[in-house]
């Protein structure tokens, strides 16, 4: 059992934090090459049919993982060496993955702040306890509406809301941090429902992670879903009243209102074939971990000016020019276009 302070993780985290602090949290106007975390989609299988699925698992784009546990270990070893202190195990639905606990072992959770992003359907009291014992620190449960019927409709599964809420309780009771993962866009950012939801989360000591609705995957071409400046402003206001709201481009510890900017490349995504993508919504491969060292892959991605300049906005969810120029191409999480071609658009 590794559930505890995780000294190695904390040492990397502290180094990363100090670096941001010394640069006044915004890198002095420059984005730096400082890999700090990654998302692993080991298997894209899912039991839901969510309308906005960025991996298109809802459309049956499952594929089959070609990553071995040795590949996962090598990926984690390299990420650790580069200073990464966070890992997010996603899918598909990670709790459907029969290799999940072997993956957690291969990652070696003692080195990373480890979390899972799940729809909660398969979470049980026993599973939550097992995850905590395996060193998982946080579980994010995706939720799209505070209205059960709406959530179920959006997720394409009756009873999804009820199970998601029950999952949150199991996670909290097992001693892990329970977070809602909420997609925010032009359709809900300024809604009273979202505001009420943040209050509900705070009252129940649940965290909230906001992800920008991005026109990629199953939502390709849906630019109307993207956040406007007024939406972003409203979300910043919610943040001021609830410190438990997290966005990946805000200050990592979120103890002030500064931002560190779009983390593309520095928080990268690995698909079931080993392709390394700059972020979950930018479906372009910077290289494959079975062919090249991770550092070379990430540095190649960082050569592109679209990715190495500081962006205070989420490129895929708040920058409509970027989205229209690059996200409308024939590409996907499972079959990502190579980066040199992607940015020629």
């Amino acid at each position: 059992m590794i559930f505890g302070k995780k000294p190695r993780m904390m040492a990397k985290f502290k180094k990363h934090y100090d670096r941001h602090k010394n640069n006044n949290f915004i890198g002095g106007g420059q984005k730096e090459f400082v890999p700090w975390g990654f998302t692993l989609n080991y298997d894209n299988k899912c039991n839901f049919k969510c309308q906005h699925c960025f991996t298109k698992s809802s459309l049956g784009d499952f594929g089959k993982s070609t990553l071995s546990l040795e590949d996962v270990k090598s990926l984690a070893d390299q990420a650790d060496e580069l200073g990464c202190f966070e890992v997010d195990i996603q899918g598909g639905e990670p709790l459907m993955n029969k290799d999940l606990f072997n993956i957690l072992e291969a990652v070696d959770t003692s080195r990373f702040y480890t979390y899972l992003t799940s729809n909660g359907w398969f979470m049980t009291e026993e599973m939550a306890k097992k995850l905590a014992e395996a060193g998982v620190d946080r579980v994010l449960i995706s939720i799209d509406s505070f209205t059960p019927e709406e959530h179920d409709k959006f997720r394409g599964k009756k009873g999804a809301y009820e199970r998601a809420m029950q999952a949150m309780k199991y996670i909290k009771d097992a001693g892990m941090r329970a977070f809602f993962s909420v997609t925010i866009g032009n359709y809900n950012a300024q809604s009273k429902e979202l505001e009420d939801f943040t209050k509900f989360a705070a009252a129940n000591k649940y965290g909230l992670i906001f992800n920008c609705a991005s026109p990629s995957g199953a939502w390709k071409g849906h630019y109307d879903m993207m956040m406007s400046e007024a939406d972003t402003k409203k979300v910043e206001e919610l943040r001021a009243n609830n410190p438990e709201i997290i966005r990946d481009l805000w200050n990592i510890l979120d103890n002030n209102d500064l931002i560190v900017g779009c983390p593309a490349v520095n928080f990268f995504y690995v698909n079931p074939y080993g392709d390394v993508l700059p972020c979950v919504f930018m479906h372009t491969s910077m290289g494959n971990i079975k062919e090249k060292p991770l550092k070379d892959i990430l540095m190649h991605g960082f050569e592109f000016e679209q990715l190495n300049k500081l962006s205070p906005k989420c490129l895929t969810g708040e920058n409509i020019d970027f989205a229209k120029k690059y996200l409308n191409q024939e590409t996907s999480v499972m079959q990502p276009m190579m980066i040199d071609e992607f940015f020629k658009a």
Partner: protein
């Protein structure tokens, strides 16, 4: 405000506790928000408030309210 009051208030703010709550018995993982990220939040807040720079050994050792006082005392913070 004394250093002790300042120290107590940091715990209340970081871990979202009521203004008058007793923080003297708090320890790592004793409350949901004091997980490893919560711990780093605490470290950052203490560094800023007391103008100190913790070493990794201090960060690992800081496992409770009382231990934190001991460590800050080592940095010259006076709690008397």
């Amino acid at each position: 405000m004394t250093n002790l009051e300042k120290y107590c208030n940091i715990y209340r703010k970081v871990f979202e506790l009521d203004n008058n709550s007793d923080v003297t018995t708090l320890s790592f993982q004793g409350i949901p928000l004091w997980d490893s990220i919560g711990h780093m939040n605490l470290i950052a807040a203490l560094e800023e408030a007391f103008d100190v720079q913790f070493e990794i050994d201090d960060i690992i050792d800081l496992s409770s309210f009382e231990k934190g006082k001991e460590i800050l005392t080592k940095f010259g913070v006076d709690f008397n």
